[in-house]
C-alpha cells in the first residue's frame, strides 16, 4: 500500500513505540501519587511536557495534556471564551476550521454566544479584512495554522496582531502544522494552540493545548486538580510519554523533513499533472504545508476514486465522511468558492515520513488508471 493519508494519521515512530512500551511496563504509578512510583510517573509526564513545549517554543507550564486535537479545540475555544463571558459573548471562527472547532463553537452557541464565520479567498487563505467588520465584544478569534484539507497556511500572526489591539484572544488549531513546519507559539503570539500526537508520529489519544500564561481558561473537566487545574483526569502516562518523544523527534527533524516532503510534493504534483492534465490543484497559489496536495479530477467522484485508488494500492482521503460514512463535498472547498461539481471530485494526498520518491513516481500511472475507471462509474443522472 502506498500510504498518502498522513494528515489523517501517520505511523508511530519506532522510538515512540519503544518509549511507550517501557512506560507501560515500568511506570505503574498514578502521576499524582506521592510515593516514589507516583513520582517516577510524574517525572516522565513532566519530561514530556518539556519536550512538547520545546517543539512549539512555549513554556512547559503552558502545556496542558489532553486527549487529542478535538479535546484541545474544545478546551481552547469553549474554555477560553467561557472564561471571558462577562466581557463579551461573541467569537469568530474561520470558515475553514476543522470540524472540531466548529463543534466547539456550537457548544458556545448553545451557551448563548454569537458565532461569526470569517471568509476565505479563492486561495483558501483567511480574508483579514473581515476582521475589521467584527463587533467589539468579540472575545475570541479561531484560526487554524494550516488547513487540513488543502494545506494552505493561514495568517495567524496577523490575526493575533489585530486581536491583541482589541479585547480578543486567539485560538490556533495547529494540529496539521506541527511537525511539518516550524511552529513558534510565542512568535505567533497566540493565546491557545492545539496539537495532536498521532499527526507527528506519536500515539492516538494524546495531544496538548498550549495555554499562554496570561490567558484565562475555564476547564471542561473539573473535580480534580490535574494539569494545574486546567484539565481534570488521571494523566495518560504512556500516551503523554509517546507524545513527548514524538515532539522531541519532530523538533529535531522538522526542517530537514519539511524540505524532503516539499521535494516529494513537487514530484507528486508533476505526476498528477502528467497523469491527468485537466486536474485542478486547490489552494495552489497559497503558501502550503510541504506535504499536502488537494486536487480535483473532473468527472471522477471522490468516493468512487478513493475506492479505485484503494483497489490499486494507494490510500488517500476523499474529505470528510458524513454520519453514514458516505463522502460529503468539502465545506472547505465550498468556502473557497470551488464549484460543487469540482468539489465532489476532490482527493487529498498527504505525504509523510514513510513515503519515498519511488512511491510518489508510481502514483502517476495508478492515478491515471483509477481516474479512468472512476469516470466510467460516475452515474449519469437525467
Amino acid at each position: 500500500m502506498i500510504y498518502l493519508d498522513h494528515n489523517a494519521s501517520t505511523p508511530v515512530r519506532p522510538e515512540v513505540a519503544d518509549a511507550m512500551r517501557s512506560s507501560l511496563e515500568d511506570l505503574h504509578g498514578n502521576a499524582s501519587s506521592l510515593h516514589r512510583e507516583g513520582q517516577r510517573a510524574r517525572a516522565a509526564v513532566e519530561r514530556a511536557r518539556e519536550q512538547v513545549a520545546a517543539l512549539v517554543h512555549a513554556r512547559p507550564s503552558e502545556v496542558v495534556f489532553v486527549s487529542g486535537g478535538t479535546e484541545g479545540d474544545h478546551l481552547g475555544v469553549v474554555g477560553g471564551a467561557w472564561a471571558r463571558r462577562q466581557e463579551g459573548r461573541r467569537i469568530a471562527v474561520s470558515a475553514i476550521e476543522h470540524h472540531a472547532v466548529h463543534g466547539a463553537a456550537e457548544v458556545l452557541a448553545e451557551l448563548g454566544f454569537a458565532i461569526e464565520h470569517l471568509p476565505v479567498g479563492g486561495d483558501g487563505v483567511l480574508d483579514l479584512a473581515a476582521l475589521d467588520r467584527l463587533a467589539p465584544d468579540t472575545v475570541l478569534v479561531a484560526s487554524m495554522l494550516a488547513n487540513n484539507e488543502t494545506g494552505a497556511l493561514q495568517p495567524v500572526a496577523e490575526v493575533a496582531r489585530w486581536a491583541h489591539r482589541r479585547v480578543a484572544r486567539v485560538f490556533c488549531d495547529a494540529v496539521q502544522a506541527v511537525g511539518k513546519m516550524p511552529v513558534d507559539a510565542a512568535a505567533l503570539d497566540v493565546d491557545y494552540l492545539a496539537l495532536s500526537g498521532h499527526k507527528i508520529g506519536g500515539p492516538k489519544g494524546a495531544g496538548a493545548l498550549i495555554v499562554r500564561r496570561d490567558a484565562p481558561l475555564s476547564p471542561l473537566f473539573r473535580g480534580s486538580g490535574h494539569e494545574s487545574g486546567r484539565r481534570g483526569g488521571t494523566e495518560n502516562v504512556p500516551g503523554i510519554v509517546g507524545l513527548g518523544r514524538a515532539a522531541e523527534l519532530a523538533a529535531r527533524d522538522v526542517e530537514a523533513e519539511g524540505a524532503r516532503l516539499g521535494d516529494l510534493r513537487a514530484r507528486l504534483e508533476r505526476a498528477i499533472r502528467a497523469a491527468v492534465p485537466e486536474a485542478t490543484i486547490h489552494a495552489e497559489r497559497a503558501a502550503r504545508l510541504p506535504n499536502t496536495v488537494n486536487a480535483s479530477f473532473p468527472g471522477a467522484r471522490s468516493d468512487t476514486l478513493l475506492m479505485a485508488l484503494d483497489a490499486r494500492g494507494v490510500a488517500v482521503s476523499a474529505g470528510a465522511a458524513c454520519a453514514s460514512g458516505a463522502v460529503e463535498p468539502s465545506p472547505v472547498l465550498a468556502a473557497m468558492g470551488v464549484p460543487r461539481d469540482l468539489a465532489v471530485c476532490a482527493i487529498r494526498f498527504s505525504l509523510g515520513r514513510t513515503n519515498t520518491a519511488a512511491e510518489v513516481e508510481a502514483v502517476g500511472a495508478l492515478l491515471a488508471e483509477a481516474v479512468r475507471a472512476a469516470r466510467g462509474a460516475t452515474p449519469v443522472t437525467a
Binding site: D303, T304, M307, G376, A377
Partner: protein
C-alpha cells in the same frame, strides 16, 4: 449490503468460501432526518450493521453516495407515477438503476469480477448460451419479480448466493457465522417509507402537491358517490378508505388524474382480460414470437396466470389472460415466465377493459419511465 440479514449472509458466504469480497452499501437517502424504524433498511444503524458484518468476516466495506441516482431514477418516477394515477413499483427501478446499474458501473473501479446481492433468485446459463434469470428455490421468498427490469448484460456478472436457500437456512448461516443481524425482522415495506404511509411520505416529506386535490368518487357510469381527498391516496383494487356506504363492497377500479376522479365498482368489475405494457426489458436474446404462451405475474403477491403475448410496435406487449385477472394495476410490473425462467418484464401501462377487443389510446398522459 442493506444492513439486512439477506445481503449480510450473501456476502458472508462468499467471503467464507474464500472469495475476495468488497462490501458496498448504497446511501440512497439523507440519514440525518430519516425516520427510524427497526424494520427500515435505509437507516444509519443499518449501515453500521452492514459494516459490522464486513468487519466480522474480514472484508472491506464502503458506503457509496447514490442519492442523486436514487432521486432521479427511483424517487422522481415514484412521485410522477402517483401523480399520474398509477401505483409504481420502485423496487424494480432500484434494482434496474441502482443495484444493477450504478453498482455494475462501479465494478471496474475496484476490479470486481462479479456483483453479488442478497436477492432470492437464480441465474443459469440457458441452452441459447445466454445467462437467464430464474425463480429462487424458496418460492415464498422468490424475488425474480423485482429483478425483471435489470439489464440483461448485468446477469452475466450477477451472483445470487441465496438462490438455493430458504429463509430459515439463511438465518441459520447468519447465526452460525455470528452475524448480529441473524434475527433482524423482515422489512415489509419500501425501504424509504418504513411506516408504509406512502401518501404521507410524499406529501409531508417531499412536499408533493400533485394528486392531492379533492375530487369525485364515481361509479363506472359517472354517477357521483362521494368525495375523496386526492388520488395519491388510492390504488387500483383498494377497498378500504372509500367512506361510501353501498349494498356491496366497492373497490377502486381506476384513477383518472385529468379529472382527479376515483372510479369505483363491485369486485367483479376489477377483472380484466388483459393488459398493455410499457416497452419490455427482455431477458432473452430474442423477444418471443407473437402468440407465445407464458405465465404472467402482475404484482408481487400474484400467482402467475397463463396468458398469450402479442408484441407491439411500441416495444411493449399486449397480454391476454386465459382467464380474467383481478386488479390489473398500471405502474406495477408485469413479469413473464416460462416455468422458472424470467422472460422479461415491464411496467403495466393499462389494463384492457372487459368486452373491448382493440386497445384504446391511453386516457391519461404516461409518466416518464427513464
Amino acid at each position: 449490503m442493506s444492513g439486512g440479514v439477506d445481503s449480510a449472509v450473501a456476502a458472508a458466504l462468499l467471503a467464507e468460501r474464500g472469495d475476495e469480497v468488497t462490501g458496498v452499501t448504497l446511501k440512497l437517502w439523507c440519514y440525518g432526518t430519516s425516520p427510524v424504524s427497526p424494520r427500515a433498511c435505509c437507516t444509519l444503524d443499518a449501515i453500521d450493521e452492514a459494516r459490522a458484518v464486513a468487519r466480522r468476516m474480514g472484508f472491506l466495506h464502503f458506503v457509496v453516495d447514490a442519492e442523486e441516482v436514487f432521486r432521479a431514477r427511483v424517487l422522481q418516477p415514484f412521485l410522477d407515477a402517483y401523480a399520474a394515477g398509477r401505483t409504481p413499483y420502485p423496487c424494480a427501478l432500484c434494482n434496474q438503476h441502482l443495484k444493477f446499474g450504478d453498482l455494475v458501473s462501479r465494478m471496474e473501479t475496484i476490479g470486481a469480477d462479479a456483483l453479488a446481492t442478497g436477492h432470492y433468485a437464480r441465474v443459469e446459463r440457458g441452452p441459447d448460451g445466454a445467462m437467464g434469470l430464474h425463480r429462487a428455490h424458496d418460492r415464498t421468498k422468490d424475488q425474480s419479480y423485482a429483478l425483471a427490469l435489470v439489464p440483461r448484460a448485468a446477469l452475466e456478472r450477477a451472483v445470487f448466493p441465496l438462490g438455493d436457500l430458504d429463509k430459515g437456512q439463511v438465518r441459520g448461516h447468519a447465526a452460525r457465522l455470528g452475524l448480529e443481524v441473524w434475527d433482524k425482522p423482515e422489512s415489509q415495506d419500501l425501504c424509504f417509507v418504513p411506516d408504509g404511509d406512502y401518501a404521507g411520505f410524499m406529501i409531508e416529506r417531499l412536499g408533493e402537491r400533485r394528486g392531492t386535490a379533492p375530487g369525485p368518487i364515481e361509479d363506472a357510469t359517472g354517477r357521483r358517490l362521494g368525495t375523496h381527498s386526492g388520488i395519491i391516496h388510492y390504488t387500483v383494487g383498494q377497498r378500504r378508505g372509500l367512506g361510501i356506504a353501498a349494498p356491496e363492497p366497492l373497490y377502486v377500479l381506476a384513477l383518472e388524474p385529468a379529472r382527479d376522479a376515483v372510479v369505483v365498482g363491485p369486485r367483479h368489475a376489477l377483472e380484466s382480460p388483459g393488459l398493455v405494457t410499457e416497452p419490455m426489458n427482455w431477458l432473452l436474446p430474442e423477444p418471443p414470437a407473437a402468440g407465445t404462451r407464458v405465465m404472467a405475474k402482475i404484482r408481487y403477491h400474484h400467482e402467475p396466470a397463463p396468458a398469450h403475448v402479442e408484441p407491439l410496435e411500441s416495444g411493449g406487449v399486449e397480454i391476454r389472460f386465459a382467464t380474467p385477472q383481478s386488479a390489473v394495476t398500471p405502474g406495477q410490473s408485469c413479469v413473464l415466465y416460462d416455468g422458472d425462467r424470467v422472460l422479461g418484464g415491464a411496467a403495466i401501462a393499462r389494463s384492457i377493459a372487459a368486452g373491448v377487443d382493440r386497445p384504446r389510446p391511453p386516457a391519461a398522459p404516461s409518466p416518464r419511465w427513464p
